[in-house]
Amino acid sequence: MTNEAKLMSMEEAVRKFVTDGAVIYLGGWAHLYPYSIVFELIRQKKRDLTLVKHSPELMADMLIGAGCVRKLLFGWVGNAGIGSCHAFRRAVEKGIPRSVEIEEYTHFSLGARLKAGAMGIPFLPTKSLIGSDLVKYNQVAMIMTCPFTRENVCVVPAINPDVGLIHVQKADAQGNAQVWGVIGDTKDGAFASNKLVLSAEQIVPTEEIRRDPNRTVVPSFKVSAVVEQPWGAHPSYAQGYYDRDNDFYVDYDKWTREPEGFERFLTEWIYSGTDNSDYLKKLGADRMQRLKPRPFMSSSVNFGLYG
């Protein structure tokens, strides 16, 4: 695939690589959540998706409330420090707008599924889930005896999502992607996924990637689509670019307590615009400026040129 073929608009990337019924991995972890990709999934009215993410926060809430989700594999769904995700609760408690099948894990046990998927190995053992009631309801994880030490271990099978959706700080046009700050499970999820769509705050020349290769979390050969998307993680954050917009999380909690409020949120923030530039216009330049951090540069290191 040529460089030109990978670099595309968000609309095209989502249309081409996310089909109804797909199993989707969502990247990030508090940091670099791919919200602008999620907004596009909602705009394109994707249906019957299976989401795989141990901490999907509002992304899962928005997709579930918008009727996009058939099944959710997760470890925790909440609005951090604030309270519940209301659309998630409505779906599970009352089947509104539709019931969602849940496959519940802990962070470590679902992480192990993605790690196994990333490694190309059928399963991985951990000491997770043992003694928890989660084992009674999770039909996939198994407790077994370690063949070497005879201790109890929890084994989970590999999962390979159809497509991974991630947001990073820098990428080149081929998709060599770099992250700094919290990495989360982005590398595992990206390698586990069969195809990968990535958005980046900045598209940079490959030479810039080559100057700092330890930061690269995804190599180009894993990547199907590259989208330039500044502020693509909002309302979550991108280390060094903008802060977490806590006000938005607080407002979202208030707006979405009832289904009508949730619908209004979708209309005003997602359906009313055709792409993320409309979303950012609504956010406003003042607010965006207030979210920018002061600079704090790392020291550069000498990789050396040899030979």
Partner: protein, 252 residues
């Protein structure tokens, strides 16, 4: 409560923290008797130096000037499962007399009355850290005879159970509630009241507990925070009272 939590920490310990009370307790301990505490977060951050209170355990403020960042799987594996966490904090919607915690559902799993956020890393913290500190608002609807769902195992159904399942951590060490400090009997593994906070009566604690709470024969009033601890909390660490208001009855 925060001062009591800080007292549980020793210098040089590696502590896994979430937002709120655990962070404030660790910061307070760092500023007083334990300057070399290393704060670890599930998000992968090691050696955080928070300079603001955050809503998220992956907040950017925690990243800048931390010591190390690992991915989440390695945090659970190499640090927690490998046994490097000395102290962990957990909470939940419900707790029972064996210190089992529920953050999954109220009611029936298939059709819950209340769907709670889920375990996240709470299970792993409860199962794998050396010393587990539980933080709970002390209310009858939270301190229940039997939790609706065991998300994070305490002593399960009593003595020998953790060993039978092969859970590595020792189990809950202490419950710091808004009304007092509760510990677990070494033999029966049942929760009992060790101390009641100033201004709280033993009856009040019993009334807010959904089972016949055992009382220690040496039950006493909780040591109040020192003037210096109060000053640090109110004026430096949580000047806007974001977490102090939520978790104190009379500022513990």
């Amino acid at each position: 409560m925060i001062a009591s939590a800080a007292r549980e920490l020793r210098d040089g310990q590696v502590v896994i923290v979430g937002i709120g009370v655990p962070v404030l307790a660790s910061l307070l301990a760092q500023r007083t008797h334990a300057p070399n505490i290393i704060m670890v977060y599930e998000s992968g951050i090691v050696g955080a130096q928070p300079s603001r209170l955050s809503l998220s355990i992956g907040d950017p403020n925690l990243v800048s000037r931390c010591l190390m960042i690992n991915d989440v799987f390695d945090t659970f594996g190499m640090i927690m499962q490998r046994g490097y966490i000395d102290v962990g904090f957990v909470s939940g919607a419900q707790i029972d007399k064996f210190g089992n915690l529920n953050s999954t559902i109220i009611g029936d799993y298939a059709k819950p009355k209340v769907r709670l956020p889920g375990s996240g890393g709470a299970y792993e913290i409860a199962a794998l850290v050396k010393k587990l500190i539980i933080i709970m608002p002390h209310e009858r609807r939270r301190f229940v005879e039997q939790v609706d769902f065991i998300t994070s195992p305490g002593y399960l159904s009593g003595p020998g159970e953790r060993e039978k399942y092969g859970l590595r951590g020792e189990g809950p060490h202490v419950v710091l509630s808004t009304l007092g400090i509760l510990k677990f009997d070494k033999l029966s593994k049942e929760m009992y009241l060790e101390s009641y906070h100033p201004g709280v009566t033993i009856d009040e604690v019993k009334e807010n507990t959904g089972w016949d709470l055992k009382i220690s024969p040496t039950v006493h009033e909780t040591m109040p925070p020192t003037a210096e601890q109060i000053r640090l909390l109110r004026h430096e660490l949580d000047p806007r009272g974001i977490f102090l208001k939520r978790h104190s009855k009379n500022q513990r």
